[in-house]
């Protein structure tokens, strides 16, 4: 187990370095370097001397491999530079906005698990009944519906319902407060985004739970368990579900990382100041320093989640550990 964890950890490093290289190259493909964009924004006359001084200071004349090495080292020491738009350090900008996004991501994951695993299991147990059909339609609708439109629709619904019942349209507040200081206000902010993102997430998970469960239920050891007279509840919980959930664990992990991508659009809908919104603003403002930091953040989250999932998987399934 120890060996396995170390190997996986070492394999994650080239992925991160490769991603950094890709981001580094992409950002250098943008016409005009950081200095030109910073000095020349707003169509003002570009002071050549100032641009040159800035280039010298940032070392833009150094050979590219050296620049890349410095880029890597800065990231390794958690120095992500300063935002070109606000002038604040990128760490501060991200730190301010991370809590909202993380809370929505965690809540969406919980919603997805609580919905998907019971529904997927029931759907598999009652295969081809009306219950199964309803669950499957729910799942496929969840995959086809863009979460941002679901978000818009839920906002419209809340506005309409409050307008016609109380006469005054109510919208969830947009200024984030932490759960610990004002739980009710906090929940009224994050509940809708978490549900809309969580629904899509649960749809994917539901489909996998159902198909994994169907596969396991046809295994010989389930027949054996039935033959020796075990009660159905134990067969399902202890024998079937335990095995069927193995691939589901992986999917939940992978989807968690991709959730951050989905938040980019959902936060826009709900006007939430999370990292997704920050990402869009960074791209719109051509704040390349911020953009590359955010891309790297998302990739790092993905790599780390994958690592955790793999280790968890090995811990759950001895076959992986010893192969």
């Amino acid at each position: 187990m120890y060996r396995y964890v170390v190997t996986r950890l070492l394999l994650a490093i080239p992925t991160l370095v490769g991603a950094a290289a890709l981001v580094f190259i992409l950002m250098r493909l943008i016409p005009g370097d950081v200095c030109v964009i910073r000095m020349g924004s707003g169509g003002a006359h570009v002071n050549e001397a100032a641009v040159e001084a800035c280039r010298m200071k940032l070392g833009l004349h150094d050979p590219l491999p050296l620049q890349f090495g410095r880029f890597l080292w800065n990231y390794f020491t958690f120095d992500f530079g300063t935002s070109m738009w606000s002038g604040n350090p990128v760490v501060v900008e991200i730190g301010k906005r991370l809590p909202v996004s993380l809370q929505i991501a965690v809540m969406a994951t919980l919603i997805a698990i609580l919905l998907a695993i019971p529904l997927g299991t029931i759907s598999a147990l009652k295969e081809n009944t009306w219950l199964d059909h309803i669950v499957r339609v729910l799942a496929i609708a969840g995959i086809a519906t863009p979460s941002f439109w679901l978000g818009i629709m839920s906002l419209v619904l809340v506005l309409d319902v409050t307008y016609y019942t109380t006469g005054k349209a109510w919208m969830p507040p947009i200024d984030y407060v932490s759960f610990w200081s004002d739980p009710l206000r906090n929940l009224s902010i994050v509940a809708l985004p978490a549900i809309t993102v969580g629904y899509r997430y649960s749809a994917v998970t539901m489909r996998l739970t159902r198909s994994a469960m169907l596969e396991v239920l046809r295994e010989d050891y389930i027949r054996t368990a039935r033959a020796k007279g075990l009660i159905e509840k134990i067969i399902i919980n202890r024998h079937a579900l335990k095995n069927a959930l193995l691939p589901v664990v992986t999917l939940i992990g992978i989807e968690f990382a991709f959730l951050i991508g989905g938040l980019v659009v959902t936060e826009q809908v709900f006007n939430l100041n999370g990292i997704g919104r920050l990402f869009v603003q960074a791209v719109q403002n051509q704040d390349n320093v911020l953009t590359q930091a955010l891309v790297m953040l998302v990739v790092a989250i993905f790599v780390i989640t994958n690592l955790v999932v793999d280790v968890l998987y090995a811990w759950l399934d001895p076959r992986i550990r010893y192969s």
């Binding site: 992925t15 890709l22 981001v23 818009i152 419209v156 307008y163 991709f258 791209v283």
Partner: protein, 303 residues
């Protein structure tokens, strides 16, 4: 100990396994419709969307850009079937023209990305060795970017607009395709005819393109249908964020921009219909893709 007598089924002549190959295309279509009613519905939706996109100028009753300031935010009715938006534009006409953008971006990104991924994936499996090893690591890196994040990063570099959006969505689809295709191609590579072709002195390019690619087409087609759906969703998301297709090109994602909250009580149809169009398009292609998978490879059913 009793000897069980074989029942009628086992006595019946064995079913001709190759029967499928000899049927006429028309029968295959009829069989598909009978066995996959949901998939047929999906296919019909996709065809309708496709026709709407191809024939937009003849279908749309109004110019999608025409502002009729005497008829702003009108409810769906006889003249404006799905109502008008806050600028007095006919929503149905805009949806029809939006289908053109959605289909163009969805299909071109999926097909181009899919084909590049197909060739790369098969080549990687065929050559093996260090090429495969390096290629695998490159795929690992590319797969670490969520689709929309990589697409946004590409837009940050190349800018917005229809063509750039297609490029931005194509790039993240390539590794996703290559990975799946490589897995199938690895199995094909073990089949002796590949070695036979090599022994006959065929070139690498010929073996990859003529002998291996056709044998991984089944999983590829299933993948492709999923990609079209993902690409349509990605285009809608990018356009909604203002970082995709730009006005005046009509796009469903653009139609959802603004308007939703402000007009929730007065004109909810502005936000409802474009979203429904996206759902219909993606649902249609997913249903068809699911049915295609069942029809091509029953082993993969319900995966």
């Amino acid at each position: 100990m009793t000897v069980t007598t074989p029942d009628r089924a086992t006595l019946a002549p064995p079913k001709d396994e190759t029967a499928d190959l000899h049927r006429s295309p028309w029968r295959k279509v009829r069989d598909f419709i009978r066995r996959q009613p949901l998939g047929t519905v999906g296919l019909v939706i996709v065809i309708i969307m496709f026709l709407a996109g191809a024939l937009s100028p003849w279908i749309a009753p109004f110019d999608p850009e025409e502002n009729d300031f005497t008829a702003m935010m009108q409810a769906p009715g006889v003249l404006h079937w799905l109502g008008t938006d806050q600028l007095g534009r006919d929503i149905f006409s805009r949806l029809v023209y939006g289908a053109r953008t959605a289909m163009l971006v969805g299909f071109s990104a999926a097909i181009v990305g899919g084909l590049i991924g197909l060739v790369l994936g098969v080549a990687s499996a065929y050559f093996g060795g260090w090429f495969d090893l390096v290629f695998q690591r490159v795929l690992d890196v590319l797969m670490a970017f969520p689709l929309i994040i990589l697409a946004l990063a590409v837009v940050a570099v190349f800018g917005t607009g229809v063509f750039n959006v297609i490029v931005a969505i194509t790039i993240p689809l390539i590794p996703r395709c290559a990975r799946v295709v490589r897995a199938s191609a690895l199995a094909v590579r073990e089949i002796p005819y590949v070695d036979a072709a090599r022994a006959l002195g065929f070139s690498h390019a010929r073996i990859v393109l003529r002998h291996m690619v056709p044998n991984v087409v089944a999983p590829f087609l299933i993948l492709l249908s999923a990609f079209v759906g993902q690409a349509i969703l990605a285009e809608a998301s990018l356009s909604y964020l203002g970082l995709g297709v730009q006005e005046p090109v009509p796009a469903w994602g653009l139609m959802l921009q603004g308007g939703a909250e402000e007009y929730a009580t007065t004109a909810p149809w502005i936000a409802v219909f474009p979203g429904l169009a996206i759902v219909m398009a993606v649902l249609g292609i997913s249903l068809f893709g699911d049915a295609l998978r069942d029809a091509i490879d029953p082993k993969l059913r319900d995966r």
